[in-house]
Amino acid sequence: MVVAWIVISVVVALGVVTAVVVRTRHRPPSFEATESPEHPFEVEPSRPVEAAAPAGAVVEVRPAGWHDGLGKTRGAFSSLRALRRQTDLDTTGLGELRETLLGADVGVETTDLVLATLRERLGRRASGPGLLDALRAELLELLGQGDRTLHLLTEPGVTNVWLFVGVNGVGKTTTIGKVARQQMAAGRSVLLAAGDTFRAAAGEQLRLWAERSGADIVSGAEGGDPSAVVFDAIQRAAARGNDLVLADTAGRFHNRVNLVEELKKIRRIADRPPGAVSEVLLVLDATTGQNGVVQAREFAAAVGVTGIVLTKLDGTAKGGVVLAVQRVLGLPVKLVGVGEGPEDLLAFEPDAFVDALLGA
């Protein structure tokens, strides 16, 4: 009570100040708007990420098994391996490595940390041929062994729900379409919940994916309550005996309070028996820069993200921000999107990822 009250008084006071500023200012806010940032934006310590998979028998779904015979990105990765071999290791100094990492969106702090560790480990030998391999090992260690499997509960009477979240335009709907297809191919009956009731024709987009994959779909009215769609989907899945509900959500920025609240509600509803949320997958766009860490942190705090899907990795962007995400939040990448086709979704392979990161 005491703390809250003090905080309230401050907020009230500052709210008034803000209001006065708002009210009296007729030109767009500009440079002098911040009056006294003695302690401007700071990162709070990483919060423990709530484990999303409830206790119970957990079946591990190994994404790796899905893509046997799928050459596309393997090919892409191996060509990068070849590229890497061409790099003249002798001339690769730490400065160059720093540029490579920064250029891959790893971020200043993570980059400098990695390089500092490297320097410490190698001592005077921090140059020359072994350097790139040492860095490679370092990055792999950073990515760690994290749990990269997709979970399914096998208790009878439980309808598994995988929830897909993320900001606008990262590829949530496309990812769900691909996951649906792969899960159907793996012999599970999948039901899609068209929880993006906001974006025009998002439901239609998902319906086309359902058609392609043969999955069932439940959609609601455009502009309707997404929680209701998810609820209906779970009821339907339970009645029909579907193994898995893949719930799409509208893209939302993590700084929109109301939309994040809406997302929390969706999660609560999805967790209500017979539904059980066994994965909350945050979809991150590989072209995203350092804001990716903020996205991951905020979504994790709101709905307990269990893993990352890194999309659009088939372009020139390296998606290095997931290194920072893993370091700061411990969230592992589980899946990788490498194209628009139904098969262009792969299990995340740290080796290939790091090679690509350092390769080009």
Binding site: M1, I6, I8, S9, T18, S36, V108, A201, G289, N291
Partner: protein, 513 residues
């Protein structure tokens, strides 16, 4: 990790304080900090190098100003350079002598082309034009459907047909001519710059419709890759301008700077929300502020603008500052602030909050706010205006009515009284800053016995920066900080008082110039 540039600048300014002039070493150090901050804002490395060199040139070349300290001068140079690079020459939109004016949109997947196309259509409609939309994204499932829905919302005709993108574009243009539309906006599928087939396709579309304007749509969250993408698109299509989208997120948007530098074409529009109306011409100064890390406060202000009731806020603001703030006003105010979102969230957005206050902000339960509200609501109107009349029996009634204990009621009354005192102090001439004292109180409370916290007000550094920012903002000419609102008799207290408040309570007289 996400140290705002303003934070770094403050530290730089602190170091350079009292120096007569900038040494080479000072400048090097300052520029190193600036480049780190720019990298964190996702500005591309090469662009960062070029930018810091430009700032260096500005600092070295500029004659030492009498009114600015060296620190101020560096910061001023950074801001000016940012605005210069982001702004540059503006694109003057003209219209084809033989309509329609054709506009082609291109970009990566998910950058927001389809939404932007509809927003552009609505924008042109508002300019009194008659736009038409052509949906040439046949790649993504339901993309055309999306465009149709958005087009209907904007009241703009949408043309598409299930053939191939080049034919759709050509037919769409013919249709626009037939219907006598004067602007024809062609939406294309998202594509990767390294996808040769698709890049060829977009070039074919471009050749087919011969656009007057080709815009690249860039997501504000984009990282280092922005440069590679933008230059590839520029090489294929010869861009005329850039549209930055998703500025309603909290990404710093350094990509805008990178793209601008590499492509050399102006940023024309900025898209700031999900509604069709959230779209406007690009403001370089806003973007500069954002990259510098002042977007948090800005977004708070914008949110406040959208949701708060001006009348109510203005009334309680003037009461608060004049010391006639009652419990009634407090509840009104709380309701306004609540509209902005959770208190913890707001606290984190506010500048000048220390780490510890932020940590405390995480633990705020918004239900506490409801309790405060319940207590006040359980009082009679007379009690709300004059809490002194609350005696034991009234207190018990209030506690019962609000479902709290008399201790809670006491606590609230006590705190309220203290706050009132502080506010009165803040308003009075020559009194020490209210916010400073308020924060002092806050520090004491939060720290508990033994541990005083460095809370809101650390008069040293903060004062320096606010003073400094004032210097930058107002330029050499005027001695008046630009933030000063015009005084409005009756509604707001005298400027001097308000001034002190807004400066975070530190009474720093404006520098005599």
């Amino acid at each position: 990790m996400f140290d705002a540039l303003s934070d770094r600048l403050e530290r730089i300014a602190g170091r350079l304080r009292g120096r007569g002039r900038l040494s080479e070493a000072d400048l090097d150090e300052a520029l190193a900090d600036i480049s780190t901050a720019l990298l964190e804002a996702d500005v591309e490395q090469g662009v960062v190098r070029g930018f810091t060199e430009a700032v260096r040139a500005r600092c070295v070349g500029a004659a030492l100003s009498k009114s600015l300290t060296p620190g101020q001068q560096v910061i001023k140079a950074v801001h000016e350079e940012l605005v210069r690079v982001l702004g540059g020459e503006a694109l003057r939109l003209t219209y084809a002598s033989r309509p329609p004016t054709v506009v082609l949109l291109a970009g990566l997947q998910g950058s927001g082309k389809t939404t932007t196309a509809a927003k552009l259509a609505q924008w042109w409609k508002q300019q009194g034009r008659h736009p038409m939309l052509v949906g040439a994204d046949l790649q993504r499932p339901a993309a055309v459907e999306q465009l149709r829905v958005l087009g209907a919302q904007a009241g703009v005709t949408v043309f598409s047909e299930p053939s191939d993108p080049v034919r759709v574009a050509r037919a769409g243009l013919a249709e626009a001519r037939r219907l006598g539309r004067d602007v024809c906006i062609v939406d294309t599928a998202g594509r990767l710059a390294i996808d040769e087939a698709l890049m060829r396709e977009v070039r074919d579309i471009s050749r087919a419709v011969e656009p007057h304007y080709t815009f690249l749509v860039v997501d504000a969250m984009t990282g280092q890759d922005a440069v590679a993408t933008a230059s590839a698109f520029h090489a294929t299509l010869e861009l005329d301008g850039v549209i930055v989208t998703k500025l309603d997120g909290d990404a710093r948007g350094g990509a805008a700077l990178s793209v601008k530098e590499v492509v050399g074409r102006p940023i024309v529009f900025a898209s700031t929300g999900e509604k069709l109306g959230d779209f406007d011409l690009f403001h370089p100064d806003r973007m500069a502020d954002r990259i510098l890390g002042m977007g948090d406060v800005l977004s708070l202000i914008e949110q406040a603008e959208r949701t708060m009731d001006e009348e109510v806020v203005a009334r309680s603001a003037s009461r608060l500052l004049s010391g006639r703030f009652t419990l009634e006003d407090l509840v009104e105010q709380l309701q306004q602030v609540k509209k902005l979102g959770s208190l913890g969230g707001i606290m984190k957005l506010l500048p000048g909050m220390s780490k510890d206050v932020r940590a405390a902000a995480d633990q705020i339960d918004d239900r506490e706010v409801n309790r405060v509200e319940a207590i006040v609501r359980s009082m009679t109107p007379a009690e709300r205006v004059e809490p002194a009349i609350i005696d034991g029996s009234r207190r018990l009634r209030i506690a019962r009515g609000s479902g709290t204990s008399t201790q809670d009621v006491n606590q609230l009354l006590k705190q309220f009284k203290e706050m009132q005192k502080l506010m009165r102090g803040a308003g009075g001439p020559g009194a020490p800053g209210g916010m400073g004292r308020l924060s002092g109180l806050l520090g004491g409370r939060l720290g508990g016995p033994g541990g005083g916290l460095p809370a809101l007000g650390d008069p040293g550094a903060g004062g320096e920066l606010s003073e400094l920012l004032r210097g930058v903002g107002s330029g050499e000419g005027s001695g008046q900080p630009r933030l000063d609102p015009p005084s409005r008799p009756g509604r707001v207290p005298p400027a001097g008082q308000r001034n002190k408040k807004k400066k975070g309570g530190r009474v720093t007289p404006p520098k005599a110039r």
